[in-house]
């Protein structure tokens, strides 16, 4: 990376940090001037104090929710990649399986979540399942697109080499789908956090979703907002991490040469 690129990145970081800071200052002033009650809208300073005073409590809850989200995400992504590969290799199955996949996707998970909790209990399993279901569809659709939309000139080349279906899949379709996988991951990773939290609302023995639900029931808004802050920060970090992975994995599209 050259120095002008580095400077640009540094600048964009400071711009983002300044915008966030202005937002919080504005929020703090608004609560102070309007004398808003804490059960309606707590000031950011009050939320940060809550986090500071209960670090282990939030750490434990975060590890449960993030664990559910990450395991669910991994399962959903792997299942999406596997099914997409099968459908690309056996295109005759695509219509039938995609109809079923769209049916599952169209069913509101908020409605399924309580049922899964009823069937599978208050443990982490229904949360992981919900998160996996949320992650699965975007990955499936994106990977199928990536594997099918290969460069026609490259397809001609492989056919002129008399490459088999599996060779085309390995050498051409799989690498062509990597940019699409990265896009899908950037969509599904924040979704997986939402999935885990929503699933926890329907009944859980721990996690940020449970804290939010209990805090809301008791109108303890600083506790509720503290959980929201953690989720927002986690979502941002995961997104940034995936953007970095994308730059490394899809270097031929993200390079400075392009």
């Amino acid at each position: 990376m050259n120095s002008s690129m580095k400077n640009k990145k540094k600048n964009s970081f400071w711009v983002a940090a300044t915008i966030i800071l202005i937002f919080f200052i504005f929020w703090e002033l608004l609560v102070f001037i309007k004398k808003t009650p804490v059960y309606i809208l707590p000031a950011p300073s009050r939320i940060l104090v809550t986090l500071y005073e209960n670090p282990l409590f939030y750490l434990q809850a975060s590890s449960i929710t993030l664990g559910e989200a990450i395991i669910g995400l991994i399962i959903g992504v792997l299942a999406g990649i596997l099914l997409a590969s099968i459908l690309v290799l056996l295109p005759g199955l695509e219509d039938g399986v995609m109809t079923l996949a769209i049916f599952i996707k169209s069913t509101p998970l908020v409605a399924i979540a309580p049922l899964l909790t009823l069937w599978l209990g208050f443990g982490v399993l229904p949360k992981i399942l919900i998160t996996a279901l949320l992650s699965f569809f975007p990955v499936l659709v994106n990977i199928i697109s990536g594997m099918q939309r290969v460069d026609p000139a490259l397809m001609d080349l492989f056919r002129s080499w008399n490459a088999s279906k599996m060779e085309i899949f390995r050498h051409l379709r799989v690498p062509s789908s990597i940019p699409y996988l990265c896009t899908a991951l950037k969509i599904t990773a924040p979704l997986s956090l939402i999935g885990a939290v929503v699933a926890e609302w329907t009944g859980a023995s721990g996690g940020l979703g449970r804290i939010m639900w209990l805090a809301y029931s008791n109108l303890n808004l600083p506790f509720l907002f503290a959980a929201i802050f953690i989720l927002a920060a986690a979502g941002m970090i995961i997104y940034r991490l995936l953007s970095w992975v994308e730059i490394k994995a899809v270097f031929w599209q993200t390079s400075n040469f392009n």
């Binding site: 001609d156 056919r159 002129s160 080499w161 490459a163 031929w252 599209q253 390079s255």
Partner: protein
């Protein structure tokens, strides 16, 4: 390698039928450099795609040393090069070439190695680079190297240098000619450039506009290097132009 094309016709069906080629008959001797020229959409590329078994003809037959294009492709007798360099962007220059070599090794014992081939096309210093770091001319050199390493007897080249600037195109065309002279494969080369065709080819096939038919077949009997100032060169140039213009008026 003999190529025999007999009464070849091809139509595309896309709601309505569009005839791309009509009654093409060509016999080509081994080691010939045949240029195919004609107006856009006249079926030049379609002919090459049929020969490479990328599509199947509606009517007629192509035989490559007595076997079908499908069998010729299966036996690694055909190398394909298109206008797009068609490089795998996630592989380095060297790896792109290694992949082509791996495929061609399935059919025959190849005598050319990766580094030797890169040297032939002047890309030795770029071996570890990725295609997106190369200029358009270098990308087409790599594409040409891929054709070379296959050591196929027939090279099907569909306007391979058309997207390049004039100077790069001239250089690559002359390099291609040098390589062809040394290896003597049968080349079928689609181009829009009549000058280049006369400079390079033993034989020029002129196609009519759609549906493509052969309206001119010129054996170019000129010694190398061919100079544009040469009266015979000018004769071929005006004859081919005349055929193209007459055909354009008629269509």
């Amino acid at each position: 390698m003999n190529v025999s094309i007999e009464s070849l016709s091809h139509s595309f069906f896309n709601g309505t039928e569009t005839q791309a080629l009509s009654e093409i008959t060509v016999n080509a001797q081994p080691g010939h450099f045949i240029a195919i020229i004609g107006p856009s959409g006249c079926g030049k590329s379609t002919l090459l795609r049929l020969m490479a078994n990328l599509i199947e003809p509606t009517n007629g037959e192509i035989l490559i040393d007595g076997i079908s294009p499908k069998k010729a492709v299966e036996q690694g007798k055909i190398a394909w090069m298109s206008q797009s360099p068609a490089l795998l962007p996630w592989l380095s220059v060297e790896k792109n070439l290694e992949l082509a070599l791996d495929f061609s090794k399935r059919y025959k014992t190849t005598t050319l190695g990766v580094s030797e081939t890169l040297q032939m096309v002047g890309l030795t210093s770029a071996a570890q680079q990725y295609p997106f770091t190369l200029s358009g001319g270098m990308q087409q050199r790599l594409s040409l190297a891929r054709v070379l390493i296959q050591q196929a007897q027939i090279w099907l080249m569909d306007e391979p240098f058309a997207a390049l600037d004039e100077l790069t195109r001239e250089k690559l065309t002359s390099d291609l000619w040098e390589i062809w002279k040394a290896l003597k494969p049968s080349v079928f080369w689609v181009t829009h450039n009549i000058y280049e065709a006369i400079k390079m080819a033993d034989r020029i096939l002129v196609f009519s506009s759609q549906p493509g038919k052969i309206v001119g077949d010129f054996d170019i009997n000129l010694t190398f290097p061919r100079q544009e100032e040469n009266s015979q060169f000018q004769f071929y140039l005006s004859s081919i132009r005349q055929v193209l213009q007459t055909n354009q008026r008629m269509s």
